[in-house]
């Protein structure tokens, strides 16, 4: 990753305009052709420097729900339970964290009542209690990682 790649990562976190040629302005700012910009973005995706590029959808605005859930999973069953949780397409991400509550995942569903059903299934399959922590207020969401 060179300094041009770093500039691309910084610029593309900001959001592109919705217009026929949305990459033109960013390419011009960086002094690149659109083709060169796009091939670098593809390489950043292939190298997992970027996890995705595209519209960032908001489940709640679509009428759905997002919830953060935590579990206390015994060490000897950790991989098994991670597999059970990750098997749900509604589980958008899942992190191992250094705490008594050692598994933290986000459930994104199209209808709010689906989340409760998935939580109940996970509790039954894993034998672990799921602590449901839906957000009550959002103060900021955005990514500002400078490279």
């Amino acid at each position: 990753m060179d300094s041009i790649d770093a500039s691309i990562v910084n610029c593309l976190q900001e959001g592109l305009p919705v217009c026929p040629r949305p990459f033109d302005d960013v390419a011009a700012t960086l002094g690149l052709s659109v083709d060169e910009l796009l091939s670098r973005v593809q390489r950043l995706l292939d190298d997992s420097v970027l996890t995705r590029f595209g519209p960032m959808y908001n489940a709640e605005s679509m009428g759905g729900a997002l919830s953060l859930c935590a579990m206390q999973v015994p060490a000897d069953r950790y991989e098994e339970v991670a597999g059970q949780v990750n098997a749900y397409p509604e589980v958008a991400h899942n992190y191992e964290r250094d705490h008594l509550l050692n598994m933290w995942f986000v459930i994104a569903t199209e209808r709010p009542e689906q989340a409760a059903a998935i939580i109940a299934e996970i509790e039954q399959a894993s034998g672990c209690r799921v602590y449901d922590m839906p957000k009550q207020e959002e103060f900021y969401i955005g990514l500002k990682l400078a490279v």
């Binding site: 990562v9 593309l12 976190q13 959001g15 592109l16 919705v18 217009c19 026929p20 040629r21 949305p22 796009l38 995706l45 190298d47 997992s48 420097v49 970027l50 996890t51 995705r52 590029f53 595209g54 519209p55 960032m56 959808y57 908001n58 489940a59 605005s61 679509m62 009428g63 759905g64 953060l68 991670a82 990750n86 397409p89 509604e90 589980v91 991400h93 899942n94 992190y95 191992e96 964290r97 250094d98 008594l100 509550l101 933290w104 995942f105 994104a108 199209e110 209808r111 922590m133 957000k135 009550q136 207020e137 959002e138 103060f139 900021y140 969401i141 990514l143 500002k144 990682l145 490279v147």
Partner: protein, 174 residues
């Protein structure tokens, strides 16, 4: 583009203004936007729509907040942000909204939410994600949050991520 063909059932009753064409657009782009100079024209061709219609619908979804923005999602680890701390704070209820806004405004905080406590195990009601290049970097940032919260905070912890078990982002069924 990851296949959603197996998930092609429906986004039923998904908000008042999401019609079948909006859903087609969401399903076609939730894994990513085509990396071509004219991605919306490419998308229109894939879906059998006019480019203008795709542009209008994407713009309308962004105006309604269904699309937050069209952007890249970086991998924190690959960028050298190897210390990712979820800081959690037990803030007096009366002050949570005001202090939450102040914490969320800090430039090193990427997400900030109020969430329910689960007493006695979990007394924390304010969550702030802090990203840093080292654990020490994160600790310094945590200290400045502690200073900001002052006497309205009764305790806090920082939960570091040890491993990403899954990260796919939102997926809806088409």
């Amino acid at each position: 583009m990851t296949a959603n063909s197996q998930e092609l059932s429906a986004v039923q009753q998904a908000g008042q203004a999401l019609d079948a064409t909006d859903r087609q657009i969401i399903v076609a782009t939730q894994a990513g936007l085509p990396l071509v100079a004219e991605p919306f024209a490419e998308l229109a061709q894939q879906l059998g729509l006019q480019t203008n219609e795709v542009l209008q619908r994407v713009a309308a979804m962004q105006a309604r907040g269904i699309i937050r923005r069209i952007a890249a999602v970086p991998n924190h680890y690959a960028l050298g942000y190897t210390a990712n701390g979820m800081s959690v704070w037990n803030v007096t209820d009366d002050h949570t909204s005001e202090l939450g806004r102040q914490v969320g405004a800090l430039d090193f905080v990427s997400h900030c939410y109020q969430r329910p406590r689960h007493l006695p195990l979990w007394p924390y009601n304010l969550f702030a994600m802090v990203h840093g290049r080292s654990q020490q970097d994160v600790e310094e940032k945590i200290s400045s949050i502690a200073t900001l919260l002052g006497g309205h905070c009764r305790g806090h912890e920082v939960l570091y991520s040890k491993r990403i078990l899954k990260k796919t982002g939102l997926r809806i069924k088409g």
